[in-house]
Amino acid sequence: MSTFVQIRDLQKQYNPPTGAYAVGEKGGISFEIQEGEIFSLLGPNGAGKTTTISMMSTLLTPTSGEIIIGGHSVTKAPLRVKELIGVVPQDLALYPTLSARQNLEFFGQMYGLSGRDLKKRADEVLAFIGLTDRASDKIDTYSGGMKRRVNIGVGLMHRPKMVFLDEPTVAIDPQSRRNILDTVKQLNREGMTVLYTTHYMEEAEELSHRVGIIDHGQIIAVGTIGELIQKVGEKDTLIFKVPEIPAGLTDKLKTIEGVLEVTGQDGELNVVARRGRKALPEAIRILSECGVALNSVEVREPNLEAVFLQLTGRALRD
């Protein structure tokens, strides 16, 4: 895969030179996105995701640094960049009194489509987002999920090489969310590079080839999910719910190969191991030998939530 997006030392300061920084206060941010990958920017609300995506989509001018997309500088050749990207904003950006088709065709014309190509592409997009049957209905009459789908469809009208999706699943029902996640995967399967911002760890984990974790306007880690987890150490936790914890049980559990730490309190035993699933049978055997009835067991493997917690000292949703 070749590099499609290069971001170097990017900073955005509001009302320079004295204003606050939205991005890059402690030093400009840098990362790359490879052609054909889904890259997620994961971070809590206010972390700087939308500001970053706004600079990448030419809406905001960086205070310093450089953004190259498809070989073109965002600041020096914005029109060329705009032809390569499709932007799906976080909030719905549609004309509510127009139909889905009219919205698609209007924005399609803004991308230079016309005539048969415009009609054909609108049909394709309507089919892709599953709204062919409702194409002539006004957006006003759509459900929240349907509006979200049209919002995405508008960004796809000109067959962009890359699409920016800024928190597209905020405030929608689970079924619509699932539909949107499947849509993103489908787009990627068709070869589209995707930049996806979210504060939902599960979405980033499900979709992304690589993730950039952003907090307080700084990129604090970039990599595949495996690489990020490795950064904080690959430790699993076995959590046993038991009626009681007899004396000596924790010491016996510590003898299992790969177990690093055992703590027990209030009917819950936490066993930290390098490979939790490997240690699990032996742990159950010891519990049984000690006559401890087992109410439940959970294997908690490291995830992005844990990574974020470890890197920032707070949970993603704090």
Binding site: S57, T58, L59, D91, Y111, V154
Partner: protein
């Protein structure tokens, strides 16, 4: 880029004309209001205080002699009543003075320094004796009320001279509309009585033939007045200005609902967007005026009035329309440019547009009304209504309304420049 400009313009026009509320405000309300006001004036009951209109009297009458040799000076009777010994009621109502230079007097009327000139020709007395007496009242129809008062006064005096004759030969006809139908009816009656009383002793026992009053406006045409000719354009312009403010306000709405930002992520420069939106707003305004131009004659016919509400100078009408919509679009953009939210633009527009409408004589003509007579020039409504009225009432040639057209386009240019300068500063996404 031209294609994109047209697409954005059409997007604006389409959204405007598919909005039922907007369509109602653009068409139904102005039509209904001008119809209602027209009907209300037809049954009339209002009263407006006016400053005394100035009348210049030029008596060139050389006199004549009756068959028994008695000399008569028919023209002098007008001078006596109007200038030398006017009844108090008449003196309170008009300011008449003698003059001798016809051209200078006419110029004063055209310049607005006088409302009318009464010209009594040299052979007036002798013509009166043969039943062909004619006098001429030269007035400025733009000064509706002042001129109408004078027409009515002269009409009353002339009627007094025409003993036993009805006033149907007096050509002022409906020009007396405001007076007779509502503005100063009581005063007219008093004047008529005073004039008759003053003239009766002079003509008592004499057989005086009919005198014909030619009412001539500054364009040299006999004027016919219809209230719809005033209120149709004034209401159309008023509601068009609101529609234009609404159209330009959509830029603020687009900024808030995110479609502006989305458009800016497409390969569409900001100037293309602005031009497209303005063209759309302008096109919607021209279309609105065009539809009203077509519908109001039908309303006039239904009310039993003349169909030619706007006159027959189609090029003049078209240019006035383009100019007044330009000025309104510019003003709308200016109001939006100085507002942060659509709601703020709404409030600002309502206040400014109503004030300008009042100043411009949208609801009541302001010619001759103290203070308003001066500041009306700041209102695009005034220049638009006056232009349409000139075309409708006088069949004025294009040259006569060119100043109105020029001033309106100038207003538009100034509004656009200030608005775009300010918008460009603060149209951040």
């Amino acid at each position: 880029m031209l294609r994109k400009i047209l697409v954005i313009a059409w997007n604006g026009i389409y959204r405007t004309y598919t909005d039922r509320t907007a369509v109602m405000l653009m068409f139904l309300v102005p039509i209904a209001l001008s119809t209602i006001i027209g009907l209300a004036f037809g049954s009339g009951s209002s009263d407006i205080e006016l400053e005394s209109p100035r009348l210049l009297v030029i008596n060139q009458d050389e006199g004549a002699a009756l068959p028994d040799g008695t000399p008569v000076q028919q023209g002098q009777q007008y001078v006596d009543i109007l200038v030398s010994h006017p009844p108090q009621e008449l003196a309170d109502l008009i300011a008449a003075e003698s003059s001798t230079d016809i051209e200078a007097a006419r110029q004063q009327v055209e310049d607005g320094d006088a409302r009318a000139v009464l010209i009594i020709p040299p052979d007036f007395s002798s013509k009166v004796l043969t039943g062909e007496g004619q006098i001429e009242l030269y007035y400025n129809p733009a000064a509706e009320i002042g001129a109408t008062i004078l027409i009515s006064v002269v009409e009353q005096i002339t009627a007094s001279l025409n003993i036993g004759q009805a006033a149907q030969d007096v050509l002022v006809g409906e020009n007396g509309y405001f007076i007779e139908q509502g503005l100063a009816n009581d005063k007219v009656e008093v004047i008529g009585e005073a004039a008759s009383a003053a003239l009766t002793p002079i003509f008592s026992g004499q057989q005086v033939s009919q005198v014909r009053l030619n009412s001539v406006n500054v364009k040299g045409d006999v004027q016919e007045f219809d209230s719809l000719r005033y209120f149709a354009p004034s209401m159309a312009i008023l509601f068009m200005t609101f529609a234009m403010a609404g159209g330009t306000r959509s830029i603020l709405e687009e900024r808030r609902n995110g479609t502006l930002a989305r458009l800016m992520t497409t390969p569409t420069p900001r100037w293309v967007y602005m031009l497209g939106r303005l063209l759309g707003t302008y096109g919607a305004g021209v279309l609105q005026m065009a539809i009203l131009l077509l519908i109001t004659p039908l309303i006039a016919v239904m009310l039993g009035r003349e169909a030619s509400v706007w006159g027959n100078n189609y090029i003049g009408i078209a240019l006035i329309t383009l100019a007044v919509v330009s000025a309104a679009t510019g003003l709308g953009l200016l109001l939006s440019a100085f507002s942060k939210t659509p709601e703020q633009a709404d409030n600002l527009s309502s206040a400014v547009l109503i004030v300008l409408a009042i100043l411009g004589g949208t609801f009541v003509p302001v010619d001759g009304v103290p203070v308003l007579d001066m500041i009306k020039n700041a209102s695009l409504n005034y220049w638009g209504v006056q232009g349409y009225n000139d075309l409708a009432n006088n069949n004025a040639p294009l040259g006569d309304v060119l100043p109105n057209i020029g001033i309106l386009f100038l207003m538009a240019a100034v509004f656009f420049m200030i608005a775009l300068w300010n918008f460009n500063k603060r149209l951040d996404i």
